[in-house]
């Protein structure tokens, strides 16, 4: 254990002493490989020195928090500036290569010492690598999560078709979160537009289970309280049969097979008559 610590100290000293040499070598390698082209030379050198020192602190203290902070910062910047993940990982691995070679050169005459140094180096280096990968994955997950939220907002359009009529084309899977957004948005629009008819089209909804049906029923009831009648359209034949087998009662809702038929009914309910001009 004492020996382990002393070899660690030796490695830290070695890397500190040769910091400039190793960073320069690292930069040259990166240039050859054409990695991280987005940054200027100065920025790159600054960035690399930070990585170099952050990883060295992990060797020195056994504390990886500095590495964790730094990697999550890099992951964020990488995502912002569009630096590919493989380039970030390859750059880090290149630093590892540069340091490894230094170890081989330094201990070439003493195999036992070299193996001991490698044991120590690999342990820390692998840990840092896994922290790096995790930070990059976390950043990706954050992006995906953001996109999901954005999609959620986009996916609930309430369109005004006539002075007193709204159309809600539902598309995709309706979960509780989306359902409550739809209700909220729809009720607000009913009040704003004084709509008296709402056509809700389900053509794009693949499955209507009891949860979806429950949401629809509640939406229809709430709309009615605000003075709007709902016409439900676009339920597929397979869904219609399934709804009946399930035992869901939608008989209190006006339904039409297609959006077109629903619009016709809407006109009737509004007392409108649509004709060609020459008729």
């Amino acid at each position: 254990m004492v020996e382990q610590r002393s070899i660690t100290r030796e490695l830290v000293l070695l890397f500190e002493e040769h910091e400039k040499e190793l960073i320069d070598l690292w930069m040259t390698k990166m240039k050859q490989l054409k990695l991280i082209k987005g940054l200027s030379d100065d920025e790159r050198e600054q960035e690399f020195r930070n990585i170099y020192r952050a990883s060295l602190s992990a060797f020195k203290t056994g504390d990886y928090s500095e590495v964790e902070n730094y990697t999550s910062k890099i992951a964020k910047r990488g995502a912002l500036q569009g630096i590919p993940v493989d380039e970030i990982l390859l750059s880090f691995l290149k630093l590892r290569d540069v340091r490894l070679r230094k170890l081989f050169i330094t201990y070439q005459g003493d195999l036992a010492k070299l193996l001991e140094a490698l044991d120590c180096f690999e342990k820390v280096s692998n840990r840092i690598f896994s922290i790096f990968v995790l930070a990059l994955i976390r950043e990706r997950e954050e992006t995906i999560h953001e996109q999901q939220r954005a999609l959620l907002e986009l996916s609930t359009p309430v369109l005004q078709l006539r002075d007193e009529a709204l159309v809600v084309p539902l598309i995709g899977v309706i979960d509780s979160e989306r359902a409550s957004r739809i209700v909220e948005e729809l009720l607000q629009r009913i009040v704003e537009t004084q709509a008296s008819v709402v056509v809700m089209d389900m053509t794009g909804v693949p499955i209507i289970d009891t949860a979806v049906a429950n949401h629809i029923l509640k939406t229809v009831q709430a709309s009615k309280l605000l003075g709007a009648e709902t016409i439900l359209t676009g339920i597929s034949p397979a869904n219609a049969q399934t709804i009946v087998t399930l035992g869901i009662d939608l008989s209190m809702i006006r339904t039409r097979s297609t959006l077109r038929e629903g619009i016709k009914l809407m006109h009737t309910m509004l007392g409108l008559e649509i004709r060609r001009r020459d008729e």
Binding site: V173, D175, S176, E177, P206, I207, I208, D209, T210, A211, A213, N214, S236, P237, A238, N239, Q241, T242, T245, L246, G247, I248
Partner: protein, 132 residues
């Protein structure tokens, strides 16, 4: 692709389960109506897991019986269990504020339905649908 296990804990997982069930149902050769029935039933059972037990597992596999092909889906959780299964399988009975027809509806949509539940240690529902 004749057996798949999915951990479920939120609405996104329900969507995933549905997609995988649909793929397998199509592969086995079920028509559109049966696909819709199976997916709707699984949707109910998976949501039950999330609502009552907050998480669980869904196992989907292809099965054979006297030359017939079919799909078997097992929904298992380690939730509170069902106190009275007879009552839970009655239309309109709910403890969650839903319509109270998910479980019975799922039973009607499938060909075979088996539920085992131990209060305090969890519920397992096994359903099967056979090709006609």
């Amino acid at each position: 692709m004749d057996e798949q296990m999915i951990e479920v804990k939120n609405d996104t997982d329900i969507i995933r389960v549905r997609r995988i069930v649909r793929e397998m149902a199509v592969e086995i050769g079920f028509g559109e109506l049966d696909q819709t029935r199976i997916i709707t039933a699984i949707s109910e059972l998976t949501r039950n897991i999330i609502v009552h037990a907050s998480s669980g597992k869904v196992l989907i596999k292809e099965v054979q019986k006297t030359g017939k092909r079919g799909i078997e889906i097992t929904c298992a959780d380690e939730g509170p269990g069902i106190v009275d299964i007879e009552l839970a399988l009655k239309d309109g009975y709910t403890t969650s504020g839903g319509l109270g027809i998910g479980m019975t509806g799922a039973r009607r949509l499938m060909d075979e339905f088996k539920v085992e539940s131990v209060v305090g240690s969890g519920t397992t529902v096994i359903v099967k649908k056979w090709m006609k």
